[in-house]
Structures are given as structure tokens and as C-alpha cells.
């Protein structure tokens, strides 16, 4: 029996900015229901990778597959339909400041799925409850929330329409360690509840260990190591070892 296709897969993805090659042939496949965390230093192309995977950026070369179907060149309505499968938590939450929290959370339900406002609001309040926020938050505006609460609202928005694939872009950046752990727990809880496939990028190793079934390291435009999250401390890869130890000395410093 042939193996089931990966839920999402990147094959030979390349991307350059102003002549600088950021991704130089990234190959990644994530099995249905699995959670992959991509780690790497600043400027190594983690955000570019996740944005290409989610269809927010075009690769210069290579292909992106979802459920085995080539989605690399999707445009317009087809791309918007595909985006219906995705949920995305942005680094800064990316909430719409002109809309109250409940409209942010229910945005897709209101404007893409055309749910009646009362029904969409009920779904938003339920999604907020799942990330530990009460109904009183629903009518506040994003500017009235703390950074941690904004991340929770962003997570509620990402999961509100029950996506099959969840992308998390630096989910704990800018949060104190306690709030970061709360967000990590919520992410694990929501991914398990929905049975979604998850792709996370982060340079926070505590977050990577908690969220990921597997961890991959991006360096020099390629995936240089991938393995179970439990093996990150015995990777046998000098680049990974230096990154995990947080040492200034090592191949990463000398190599670039």
C-alpha cells in the first residue's frame, strides 16, 4: 500500500532577495497530524520558509504541495480556497486594530464563510474561551490588550475555523517566560484538539521542545538537520549543538 502523501511539503524551494540567496533548496515534508518546528538563527530564512509554505510569498524555484497537490502557482480564488485550510499565528499577532476582538477572531467566518454575525460571534466567544479569555474581551479592541492577550487572540483567530494546517511564526517572541509557556501549552492543546498538522518557526528552544514532535534546523539556506524533538540535545551536528548551547564559538560564527 502506498504511503499517504505528506500534509504539506516543500521541494527544492529557493528564494533570493537583492541577489542574496536566502533559501537554497529547502526540502521539507510534514506528515498529517505531525508538528514540525523549524529552528535557526536570525536572518536564516525561517519566516520566508513559512510564508512560502502558507502561500504568502512566491518561491523563485521549487514547489509546494498540500495533500499531494501542487499549490505553488495558485492564484486568486483558488488560492483563497486553499487558505481556508490554513490557520496562521503571526509573530506580532497581526490583529486588525480597527475591529473589536470578536470580529478579529470571527473574520474568516464573517467575510469568507458568510456566517450570520450572531453565529460568528458565538464561535468567536467559544474560540476565545478555549484560549483562556472571557467573553468581556470580545468587545475590546486589540490596542486595549497586553502582548500576551494579543497572542491568545491571534491563536483563537487561527483555530476558529478548524484549519487542517496551522502555522506559528515565532509564537513566543516578545513574551515573558511564563506567558510564553502559557502560549506553548495552548498551542499544543489546540493542535491536539483539532488534529491539525503544525509548522512552527522559532529560535526559542524551550518552545521548540514543547511544541514539536520533530525539529529541523535551517542554516545556509538549507535544512541541515532534522530529528525527533527528544534528540535535539544529541544531534551529533556541530551547527545544531552550537545553536542549542547558545555558544558564540563554533561553525556558525566562523562560517557566517
Amino acid at each position: 500500500m502506498p504511503a499517504a502523501p505528506a500534509k504539506i511539503e516543500l521541494k527544492g524551494v529557493k528564494k533570493a532577495f537583492g541577489g542574496r540567496m536566502v533559501l537554497d533548496g529547502v526540502d521539507l515534508a510534514v506528515a498529517p497530524g505531525a508538528s514540525l518546528v523549524i529552528i535557526g538563527g536570525s536572518g536564516q530564512g525561517k519566516s520566508v520558509t513559512i510564508k512560502i509554505a502558507a502561500g504568502l510569498m512566491r518561491a523563485d524555484a521549487g514547489k509546494v504541495f498540500v495533500d499531494g497537490a501542487d499549490v505553488t502557482r495558485l492564484r486568486g480564488a483558488a488560492q483563497r480556497r486553499r487558505a481556508g485550510q490554513f490557520g496562521f499565528l503571526f509573530q506580532g499577532a497581526a490583529l486588525f486594530d480597527s475591529l473589536p476582538v470578536w470580529r478579529n477572531v470571527a473574520f474568516r467566518l464573517l467575510y469568507a464563510d458568510r456566517l450570520p454575525p450572531a453565529e460568528a460571534r458565538a464561535a468567536a466567544v467559544e474560540a476565545l474561551r478555549r484560549v483562556g479569555l472571557g467573553e468581556h474581551v470580545a468587545d475590546l479592541y486589540p490596542g486595549e490588550l497586553s502582548g500576551g492577550m494579543q497572542k491568545r487572540v491571534g491563536l483563537a483567530r487561527a483555530v476558529a475555523a478548524h484549519p487542517e494546517i496551522l502555522f506559528f511564526d515565532e509564537p513566543t517572541t516578545g513574551l515573558d517566560p511564563i506567558n510564553a509557556d502559557v502560549i506553548n501549552n495552548l498551542i499544543v492543546e489546540q493542535v491536539k484538539r483539532l488534529g491539525s498538522t503544525a509548522v512552527t518557526i522559532t529560535h526559542d528552544l524551550a518552545s521548540a521542545r514543547k511544541i514539536g514532535d520533530e525539529i529541523a534546523m535551517l542554516y545556509g539556506g538549507r535544512i541541515i538537520w532534522r530529528g525527533p524533538a527528544a534528540d535535539i540535545d544529541r544531534s551529533g551536528n556541530p551547527y545544531v549543538e552550537q545553536f542549542v548551547a547558545g555558544r558564540a564559538e563554533g561553525p556558525i560564527a566562523s562560517g557566517g
Binding site: 502558507a54 502561500g55 504568502l56 483563497r80 503571526f90 497581526a94 473574520f107
Partner: protein, 257 residues
């Protein structure tokens, strides 16, 4: 740098930008025509672009009408033609100053605001967020603003026409010894419908250009807060230049009337 090379580079840059703006405008118009429509967004923009611009447009119009009346009265006096002042004020306001001044006020107020808002949305990944929520940013952000500006600027111009002529009337009756009733009658009898309609057509085109520049520069913002500031400046300057260029082209086109 070789000056010929520099000239060639800047020419190519301008052609590239013109092409990008044209494609952007085409995509924006396409999004405005085809459903889904975001009526709530359209209503919000009508209020932001139109209703909240009324005070600034009204004040500009009243002072311009008054100053125009004084200047034409002085100039007309050199040919003993002071009495023709109301007609010239009406013509100048409806065909030229009403639409151009209303558009310039909007370029300063609205084009900048649109560029800053959309630019900040770009910088904080809110535009990417729209895409991940299965929503076309052109339909949600660009189309309502283009449409609102095209609908609203002719209305603002009609208001500016009335207030501008009123500004001339106030000066004429209070300091230049004109009879109020005669002033109004002369203006009314002289004005042709095309004088007003051509100004309103200009206004619709200016409205499109003002919103387009705000949207384009905001949407293309790169580089955080500095980029947003740059986008705002570019939006206002390019909108003002395009208003004057389009004004000349349309005035040339309309002169046979």
C-alpha cells in the same frame, strides 16, 4: 556615476513604477466591480473620506471664493469691467478651483491617511493576515477606498462650488457694494450646466487618483515605520502632481464645450 546611465536608470524606474501603478489600478477596479462587496468598509470610507473632509473643503472654498472675487474685481477694474466679477468667480470655481482645491485638500488629508493606514497594516503583517483568512486585500482594503473617493469627491466639489460662490458673494455684498440679489441672478444666468458637470467629472477622476496613490504607496510599503513615513510622503506628492496633470489633460479635452 555616468550621467547618461543615471538618466537611463531613472527613466526605467519611472516606466516600471508607471506599469506597476497601472496594474495595481486595474486590479483595484476589477476588485471594485466583482463581488464579494464589503459594504461596511465602503460606508466607513465614505464617512472618512467624505463627511470628515467637509470642514476643510468648505473653509478652503469660502476663502478661495472671497479672494478670487477681490482679485477679479481689481483686475476687472482696469478695464471698467468690475460688474462681470460674479460670472468669472462662478466659472473659476465650478470649472477649476472647486474640483482642484477639494482634490488637493483630499490629497493632503486622505491620501496620506490611506497610505499610513495600509502601510502600517503591511508593516504589522495585517495584509498577510487577510490572505490567510481567505480574504482578498484588494476587495477588502483597496476597492472600498477607490470607490468611496470616486463617489464622494464630486459631492464635496458640489459643496465647494456652492460655498466658494458664497465666499465671493459675501465679499461682493459686504465690501464691494454689489447687490446680493443681482449677484445671485448674474451667476445663475451665466452658468451653464456643463461648467458644473465638467468640474464634477474632474472631481471623480481626482478622487480615483487620490485614493489610488494612497492605496498604492501604502500597499507597497517596506521597512517598518520609516517605510510608512516614506509611503505617506510619496502618496501626497504623487497625488498632487497627478491631480494637476489630469486637470490639464481634462481641461484641454473639455475646452471645445
Amino acid at each position: 556615476m555616468n550621467p547618461v546611465r543615471a538618466l537611463g536608470r531613472s527613466t526605467l524606474g519611472m516606466v516600471r513604477t508607471a506599469g506597476a501603478v497601472t496594474l495595481f489600478a486595474g486590479k483595484g477596479v476589477g476588485a471594485a466591480i466583482a463581488p464579494p462587496y464589503f459594504l461596511g468598509q465602503f460606508g466607513t470610507q465614505v464617512l472618512a473620506i467624505g463627511y470628515f473632509s467637509l470642514p476643510v473643503v468648505g473653509l478652503t472654498a469660502v476663502f478661495t471664493g472671497a479672494a478670487l472675487a477681490l482679485n477679479i474685481y481689481t483686475g476687472g477694474g482696469r478695464f471698467n469691467a468690475e460688474q462681470i466679477m460674479p460670472q468669472i468667480v462662478a466659472l473659476g470655481i465650478t470649472r477649476e478651483l472647486g474640483p482642484v482645491l477639494a482634490a488637493l485638500m483630499l490629497a493632503g488629508r486622505v491620501s496620506a491617511a490611506i497610505a499610513a493606514e495600509i502601510g502600517a497594516m503591511r508593516a504589522t503583517e495585517q495584509i498577510d493576515a487577510l490572505q490567510t483568512l481567505s480574504t482578498d486585500p484588494f476587495r477588502y482594503l483597496i476597492a472600498p477606498r477607490l470607490l468611496a473617493a470616486v463617489v464622494v469627491l464630486p459631492v464635496l466639489t458640489a459643496v465647494a462650488d456652492i460655498i466658494g460662490i458664497m465666499g465671493g458673494w459675501i465679499v461682493a455684498t459686504s465690501t464691494l457694494g454689489f447687490s446680493g440679489a443681482v449677484y445671485v441672478k448674474n451667476t445663475w444666468d451665466f452658468l451653464q450646466s456643463w461648467d458644473v458637470v465638467s468640474g464634477l467629472i474632474k472631481a471623480a477622476v481626482f478622487g480615483f487618483l487620490v485614493a489610488l496613490m494612497g492605496c498604492y504607496h501604502g500597499y507597497m510599503t517596506t521597512g517598518g515605520a520609516r517605510g510608512v513615513g516614506r509611503a505617506t510622503t510619496h502618496a501626497v506628492v504623487s497625488a498632487a502632481i497627478l491631480i494637476f496633470a489630469a486637470d490639464y489633460l481634462m481641461t484641454s479635452l473639455f475646452t471645445h464645450h
